[in-house]
Symmetry: D2
Subunit: 344 residues, 4 copies
Amino acid sequence: MKEPVSESSTMYSASIIGASGYSGAELTRLLLQHPNIELQELYAFSQTGKHVSELYAALSCDKVYQPYNGETESDLYFLALPHGEALRLVPALVDAGKTVIDLSGDFRLKCPLEHEQFYKQVKSPGSVMTYGMSELFSEEIIKAKAISNPGCFATSIILGVAPLFRGNKSSVKVRAINCTSTSGISGAGRSSKTELSFSEMSENIRAYKVGTHQHIPEIMQALGSSSTRPSFDFTFTPMIGSLVRGIYSILNVQLESPVDGDCIKELYRNFYQDAPFVRVRDNMTEVRHVAHTNFCDVHIAYAAPGGSLVIITAIDNLLKGAAGQAIQNMNLMLGLPETTGLSF
Amino acid sequence: MKEPVSESSTMYSASIIGASGYSGAELTRLLLQHPNIELQELYAFSQTGKHVSELYAALSCDKVYQPYNGETESDLYFLALPHGEALRLVPALVDAGKTVIDLSGDFRLKCPLEHEQFYKQVKSPGSVMTYGMSELFSEEIIKAKAISNPGCFATSIILGVAPLFRGNKSSVKVRAINCTSTSGISGAGRSSKTELSFSEMSENIRAYKVGTHQHIPEIMQALGSSSTRPSFDFTFTPMIGSLVRGIYSILNVQLESPVDGDCIKELYRNFYQDAPFVRVRDNMTEVRHVAHTNFCDVHIAYAAPGGSLVIITAIDNLLKGAAGQAIQNMNLMLGLPETTGLSF
Amino acid sequence: MKEPVSESSTMYSASIIGASGYSGAELTRLLLQHPNIELQELYAFSQTGKHVSELYAALSCDKVYQPYNGETESDLYFLALPHGEALRLVPALVDAGKTVIDLSGDFRLKCPLEHEQFYKQVKSPGSVMTYGMSELFSEEIIKAKAISNPGCFATSIILGVAPLFRGNKSSVKVRAINCTSTSGISGAGRSSKTELSFSEMSENIRAYKVGTHQHIPEIMQALGSSSTRPSFDFTFTPMIGSLVRGIYSILNVQLESPVDGDCIKELYRNFYQDAPFVRVRDNMTEVRHVAHTNFCDVHIAYAAPGGSLVIITAIDNLLKGAAGQAIQNMNLMLGLPETTGLSF
Amino acid sequence: MKEPVSESSTMYSASIIGASGYSGAELTRLLLQHPNIELQELYAFSQTGKHVSELYAALSCDKVYQPYNGETESDLYFLALPHGEALRLVPALVDAGKTVIDLSGDFRLKCPLEHEQFYKQVKSPGSVMTYGMSELFSEEIIKAKAISNPGCFATSIILGVAPLFRGNKSSVKVRAINCTSTSGISGAGRSSKTELSFSEMSENIRAYKVGTHQHIPEIMQALGSSSTRPSFDFTFTPMIGSLVRGIYSILNVQLESPVDGDCIKELYRNFYQDAPFVRVRDNMTEVRHVAHTNFCDVHIAYAAPGGSLVIITAIDNLLKGAAGQAIQNMNLMLGLPETTGLSF
């Protein structure tokens, strides 16, 4: 699709804190191209003094990474830091009246106990920001000054089952979800772990954190439940495979009572009819259909008479699962068309 | 492990019908090295006149593919043909008193209706051979003259849940299994389909035949149930990913009542204590742990208080999922140590 | 870089003949986003009736492929057909006064005998169009109505040595070039050949057409020489490896007399100082630096006292090596900034 | 091929110092299967206390890594250590009368100055062992007690041109060789470098150490020349690509005078007629033809009238390029058939 002619020619300045990781690099790329943004500073403590093009030559960007010094000159701040670090930096940015979008898990969970259990870190009860799942919470996002951007697995799973929980089809009730998601290895970040080397991961698949992944409470919360008092059974098996980008989620859903497959498809189409980046597809989806895009593809692959569903979703973990969704949220917050700068 | 010193120096002659596909090539490789086998003829209609080394240079084998002409000179015959073709050839080989191992799905299902539904092909009620899942049916296999070798997905799934069905732990009862399996692309055979080209499948994942795959009735049958009258809910989502070899299966099991995780592990260890190729592992399994081996690795990854289990298995689809298991069955049938020729 | 604000708001209509291959799909994507282009028809005989999104879901394009019927309603026509087919279609388009960019090899070679030898096809002596190597022939391109877009290997090689032949450094004279280029498998087109399947090409490298590739005379011609009367020794070994996109060329150059490495670097920098898409880099280049971009990276890796040079270039074969360069040429022909629609 | 029935039933004990890297793991696998070897100790300082199966589950080996303490109980010692460490350990092993095979570069170069230049390390003039290129120096190897095993790139290059230098064809004289070799990433060792992570190397190619690689003097020396006083021009460009195993070398050779292509082929066939692991092939070779084997495939791809040759070789870098060749040398030293334990 061709970029919409921007209704607004207002320009905003933006800086990125934690700019040298894969999500930070994608943010850099998207902000450099965004018609309403002037990219200012790129902060990355560990890469201080290096040019962006040394790490990401494809970006052809001359800016130099520097350590964040507390400045608040930009209109917007994106934080793409390891978990735990944004908790410390965000309050000052919010106090200075800045628009903030945090890509970490620091501000996602309302319940401090859940946060402590899954992130091994104590945080104060008030440390929550608007949850930036653009398709579900756009009304809150439009009004917000600070957004917590969803996790990558969480995005692929929540968008895959949200219509069952939030669609206006009172007869649908979920009893259990078993979810298996395969992520590209870029999801583990720009890493120097032996276990993520090419020699170890080529032609390989590995599950990890089965039943203990930190996106579990995030998913439950977004679906109106919680991991401590679940209203439905939920198991989640994350995996990494031999690919760089993408998340492919198989959602095995057990409903309380049988529902016709066509009704489910209708429910999904209605639910996402105004969502420019969610495509409910009749055909099987694949990772390559969404790689390098901000789309989330959803396919109802199986609906058994007994109420068993298999729903399959695909996203690019670095775009719809991170930087792309962050820009989508920014567009909503700035009153721009939702797709601005995301039509590639 | 070092090859066991063969108790028997008896030599048998063997030929392969359908030798030019990936399973056929693995059979060729294994039989060339097997201390008790003299490999005779390699039949492959579509490659008639070509040397093995033209298709599989790594084998360094000078034999020439030829069309099968009905000869019955060898002691053993392996059939690695597309589904439907073995049905026609096997009866004559059995009548001639030959030892037969068929790697197709033609003789796996007892119920002709299930066969017709899943293979789109009519077969006579008697067309069933001993099901060659070495770890479950060795007593029958030892006595058999003709074996139907299990499917690749089926092997990875059946071995992953068999102890819950066949172990002597009366308290365990399965209510539902949701299975998601990722296969290497070699599982689709030596193919010229555009959708299996490197350009389409690199950095990709794709599900297919969700809920309709022909291994579903095979799995149900091996677990003492059937797809037409299931005693537990079963959904199966097969996928292919960006790898050549391997099957990685995530088995979400819902038990009727809670069982302690350690008891499950104990149950599995006991069940497989005499199985040289099944390894019940404490650590996470990965595809690379089993690639180019005949092992099936099993890991109990999650056991929730409510009776939810996540069991993960890994095999090499061309070895334990096809040619390796065929040799394992042959060893059992010939009275040789089960691991002969499979210790690499 | 951010897209330049277009000096021109003129809109042109464009159609693609041969739109369903990989180059055609990249053209589709680029033209959909181009601010001065209205994409009209997508012609692809073999995919007639299919929606673009069925083959290339990432494009999210609803247009339907159809057979080309000879219409001449668009302002521009891109041809991305198998070699030999454009020869038949281009004359009528040129006669109708259309702007034509042909991505095949049909119109590249001036010498009919060379064409016949390397393309196994007779063509009339006049069947030559302006050679669209944007960095070398922009003056001719700006004036041309019909362009023959360079081959992918040829682009990576010509740009890597052109300064030695065409730079104003009279002392440099080339005696021999040995070139080894590895291409991504997408260079073989959207194919159903067994030898290009994932199972055959994963973890593989294969050379082909050593010394006989059709880009040899194209390269010689662009460097002011010819394959029949070569003014320097030239050998070319093309390879495909386990990647989808990219060409990585190692150019071993033997000069007639010693030249200082810094002088060579200076020569290259001067030669490409006004070329927005050629980057002469101090550091080693890699395929990932140029993948999904229109850049050609050039690195002088080695300069021995005796006059031996190793020059390394990297391009994305589908962009700078095909569709991207075609758009670059179109921009030149339409009087638009050279980078319009190519800044991603 | 089937394993030759060993003429000798003598058993030897062997230990590996530096057993936890990729070459060490391949040695472990090969020695575990070798009919004349009892594998004793596995030394690996950095992995002390870990079981082999924790790092290499496919090996199914219970041995525990431990630090080397100077013991000399085994008959044979293999050293697979980082460059520089064997220099320190080998003398004591040799003094104790042990058979030693060192896989590092420490003892390859006769000239201490070359060693210092390329390995950045001083060594005493006497620190040279028999160079274990089995096909060229078997007479010396058979008599040796200590062997320096060739480098991986060096193996693929030396075997590709040796007949031109050492064959009895007086008319052939080499003027120049430009060599471009692509290695699988396992050649960089079991590594935790970011630049070798899957996310950085998938779909990538990168050259390195152009003209400065430490195998350059090793190659020159084996061909009867030297890097300091070269008798022919030699440039070498090593690369890594998106594969784990394999080296694919393109050898551009310029002869002093024209030679017929068939004569070259004949020269090669004669030269390697008794070499069980070198295959001079009429058809194009590929990495997959030799992966997981000890073969070196050689193909004369191009022979121009002017005396230009393109010779292509392929090996598995961990087998023929390291552990496999080490076992081949061991067989020669022990008087066993050269192929013992290497026929898979």
